[in-house]
């Protein structure tokens, strides 16, 4: 179930929340929307789910336009909105039954499917409880269960793990991966580790525009300008800036050396190294020949977090 988005624009007053976004989602892909708050993730999702129309641009789900075939598109989509709104006065079984009916499922298919979703989402213990009595983690599972009750081909999840504790987050992610195997999933988040844990592909959105598109690994590679090496050496030198730093600086591939701290003859340096180069061995040999004691050596590659900061903080 492929999704095609072309030149999407949505304005609130004069402010463009989404500014000319285009992207494709392939069948079976788990796509992560990453971006700071207010970047336009939720707005894009509200357009995809036919909650509100764009000011300009087109969206096609499986070749069906959201403006001309709204009902058919909505039948194919399962949606978990941002705040996971639920009817607190209904119990879990009744609510899932209601959701299934509104999705147009046949009467005969509903009880079996409700039972299946209760099992898949781990709701057996609370199935007769009112939703208002449930903990946040259980409510989130009810939200996922209602989104998937009609076995939609497309799942749109707006911050599916917000407000959950770390254990619940791991569980919900597992659930999404498991259920998302056969579906096209779009999920939004501002948690970076979530994207790495669940998504095949990432779109980074900032101020209504797409600023990066690719797998988490691709993005890391693409936006890596190099890596840094942190080094702690005991040289006994009183003036490491004069005595030690120049020797490090002339090593091959080292672009820059900064002294981070010095204390009792122990100095900490940060070395900026060219992309793809590994200077750890050379550093070690230098230390041996200079008779320095190497206390710590640590290589840090660009993380998705760095990419995110770089792209969204400007």
């Amino acid at each position: 179930m492929a999704i095609t988005v072309r030149n999407l624009v949505k304005k609130y007053g004069n402010q463009a929340a989404v500014n000319n976004i285009s992207f494709d989602v392939r069948t079976g892909e788990i796509l992560g929307f990453l971006g700071p708050n207010g970047a336009g993730k939720t707005t894009t999702m509200k357009i995809l789910t036919c909650y509100m129309p764009p000011n300009a641009g087109t969206v096609e789900v499986d070749g069906l336009s959201i403006s001309d075939h709204s009902l058919e598109v909505r039948r194919k989509i399962g949606y978990l909105p941002e705040m996971n709104p639920l009817y607190y006065d209904m119990n879990v079984l009744d609510y899932l039954d209601y959701a299934a009916r509104l999705q147009g499922m046949s009467d005969a298919a509903i009880p079996g499917k409700v039972k299946e979703m209760v099992g898949v989402c781990g709701l057996e213990d609370v199935r007769h409880k009112d939703i208002g009595e449930l903990s946040k983690g259980y409510r989130q599972r009810v939200g996922l269960a209602q989104a998937m009750i009609h076995d939609p081909e497309v799942l749109i999840l707006d911050e599916p793990t917000s407000g959950l504790d770390p254990n619940q987050i791991v569980e919900i992610r597992k659930l999404i991966r498991q259920l998302g195997r056969a579906k096209t999933v779009i999920l939004s988040t501002h948690i970076l580790s979530e994207v790495q844990a669940t998504c095949d592909r990432v779109l980074i959105i900032n101020e209504g525009a797409i600023v990066a598109d690719g797998t988490p690994e691709q993005l890391q590679r693409q936006f890596t300008s190099g890596e840094t090496l942190t080094l702690e050496v005991k040289t006994g030198s009183a003036d490491p800036l004069e005595m030690v730093a120049p020797k490090l600086r002339i090593l091959a591939y080292v672009k820059n050396v900064t002294l981070l701290s010095r204390h009792d003859g122990v100095s900490r340096f940060e070395l900026d190294v060219e992309k793809g180069a590994d200077v750890r061995e050379a550093t070690f040999r230098l230390a041996v020949s200079e008779n320095w004691v190497l206390l710590e050596i640590h290589r840090k590659a660009t993380t998705l977090e760095d990419v995110f900061h770089k792209l969204t903080l400007s």
Binding site: R74, P81, M83, P85, D89, M90, Y98, L102
Partner: protein
Amino acid sequence: MPSLRTILTIFRRELRSYFNSPVAYVVIVVFLAIVGWFFSSNLFLMNVASMRVVFELVPLVFLFFIPAITMRLLAEEQKTGTLELLTTRPVRDSEIVLGKFLAAWVLVAITLLPTLLYVIVLAFLGPLDIGPVVSGYLGLLLMAAVYVGIGLLASSFTENQIVAFITGFLAILALFLLNKVLIYVPEGLASTFEFLGIDFHFSNIARGVIDSRDLIYFAALIGFSLLLAVMSLERRKW
């Protein structure tokens, strides 16, 4: 075309929601207490055995009862965000409005149901002309439908239930008072005001005269308020 199955699904949820919360019980009990008190005081203190007091009193009680029933219908869903979930399912806005309208209307009908006991009491006391009783109830149901439509419309404008109640009440009150303020109205407009007043048409029907003009008046008001409510739901798309 709105699908009946979807309308009934929404209708059932709304009606159950009334009975899951204290709303339905409070409404029914208070309503019956007020109407019952007037009926029985007429019967025992004034020695008047008639349904007339019921048909005169209930329209007044409806004025503030029905906005109280309808105020949460759409306002609550807008506030909690469940409306977003509802409108992103394969459900038409018209189906949402019709389902909710029916639920509130049926709740009013259920509230009226125990008053049939008065009819039975009267039938035991003496010969009862059943015609005006039937037309009286028909008039009440039509009037209730108009009020529910307007209350639902008021509830669609806001996510605040109090605001929905007050605007709904004022709109209904205005409709009710139109044919009661004729002395303040220029002579040329008097007949128009009278025709627009809901109580004028209600009393026509309650008297047992079922005229197509009255029926059209009710149908038009119900249709118009529901249509506006659908348009109001669609304003998210503007």
